[in-house]
Subunit: 240 residues, 2 copies
């Protein structure tokens, strides 16, 4: 009996939610009901429910009750061939703004340039239908693209073509991309632009395009973790 009471109550409720006994949208017993049911004070019942709130399983509605959260089925976003922009399959518009900038330290490191070097920074918002899905930023070293036809990523004949295609047009062959996937709580600005609830979790996909060993573009794609999952298929025996 070392496990604290409020955690054991939380365990019990969580179990009932996961078994479907408490269905999404359904009301969890009120805290007076819980305190009677488990013979504890109402404060302990509150603590137990709070654990589930922090796990994102339930949400409280003042005056009404505590409800099992409906989990909108996460939309499966298929991973696109390397170098595509964006790296996941979407059917929608994009908004982009580009500007010259200087590379912050972490970006400079990814691009293999000195911190403060000139870069072209482009901010994207990708839509699927009318819905904003992916927030992104890409950085390209201006030492590479200045005064070429693809200096501005979203202008000219190669606009929206993705870095592999664009770089190819100026004689730079992207041979490899590296991607890392991570996740973290959303920043306030991301919550606002992607229309997310507070304290949402986002998936962050970082991609760097390399020509040989030289990085020629790096980008960061941010999307809601609750609403999306990234999917990929592998054929067994394929050359990787």
């Amino acid at each position: 009996m070392s496990r604290p009471t409020y955690l054991r109550i939380a365990d019990d409720l969580r179990h009932r939610i996961q078994e479907g006994e408490l269905a999404p949208g359904e009301r969890v017993p009120s805290r007076t009901q819980l305190s009677r049911r488990y013979t504890v004070s109402d404060r302990v019942a509150v603590e137990a429910v709070k654990v589930l709130m922090n796990e994102g399983l339930v949400e409280g509605r003042p005056g009404s009750g505590t409800y099992v959260r409906r989990r909108p089925e996460a939309r499966r976003l298929h991973h696109e061939p390397p170098g595509a922009s964006p790296p996941v399959a979407l059917n929608g518009a994009r908004r982009a703004t580009s500007a010259e900038a200087t590379a912050p330290a972490p970006i400079a490191e990814r691009l293999g340039v000195d911190a403060g070097a000139d870069v072209m920074r482009t901010d994207y918002l990708f839509f699927d239908d009318e819905e904003p899905i992916v927030l992104a930023t890409s950085w390209e070293p201006l030492a590479l693209t200045r005064d070429t036809a693809v200096m501005w990523p979203e202008q000219g004949p190669f606009a929206s073509q993705g870095p592999v295609c664009r770089m190819a047009s100026i004689g730079v062959t992207v041979t490899r991309t590296t991607e890392t996937v991570s996740a973290r709580p959303a920043l306030e600005e991301e919550s606002r632009r992607l229309d997310l609830p507070r304290s949402a979790v986002v998936i962050v996909l970082r991609r760097t395009c390399l020509a040989g060993e030289r990085p020629v573009e790096t980008a960061e794609f941010v999307l809601s973790a609750e609403r999306h999952e990234l999917s990929q298929e592998f054929e067994i025996g394929e050359t990787r």
Copy 2:
């Protein structure tokens, strides 16, 4: 003054942490100090500190104090060839326990069997050195493996070999795997077993192995998003 007291105290402490005024490893004022400093009851001070714990910014050490957490650089975990167990590169032991079970609805759907069908469920904890890194569960339909040499995934000559190899030994050729990556707040049990702060964010990698169109294994891998990122490389022009 609409923002509750405990959140405003949390804001203040968070700000001091982010400004470096309270450095990593340093002790946050105790709750009696906080309650005097802000003229609130000790319970309110406790609630304020709990918010920061849930954000992973501080951790409590009973009898000692509450300390600003040191944030280790996220470790990059390389994606392994499809079908490996686990799907990321680790250098460490594993603990596994297998048991017969019946398939819950979402698992049944992934395995293409009826809900409640007999499955072999195996729970894993993968270590890197001494540190627990990945929590995993795999499910295999017993209709496929019952009474074969690989019925128990972690026993026999093919123990720890991963599903592709194990299935091959009983004449089942895995031709394809599908993977989806998502993220969410950690469940309390996951936080405990992976030694994470409460309400940490975890990355969830779901993998299903298919022989033709028939699913033969599905698994879920859970790891801390703060401490790890998944990395992959793509050669341009490769056949996918």
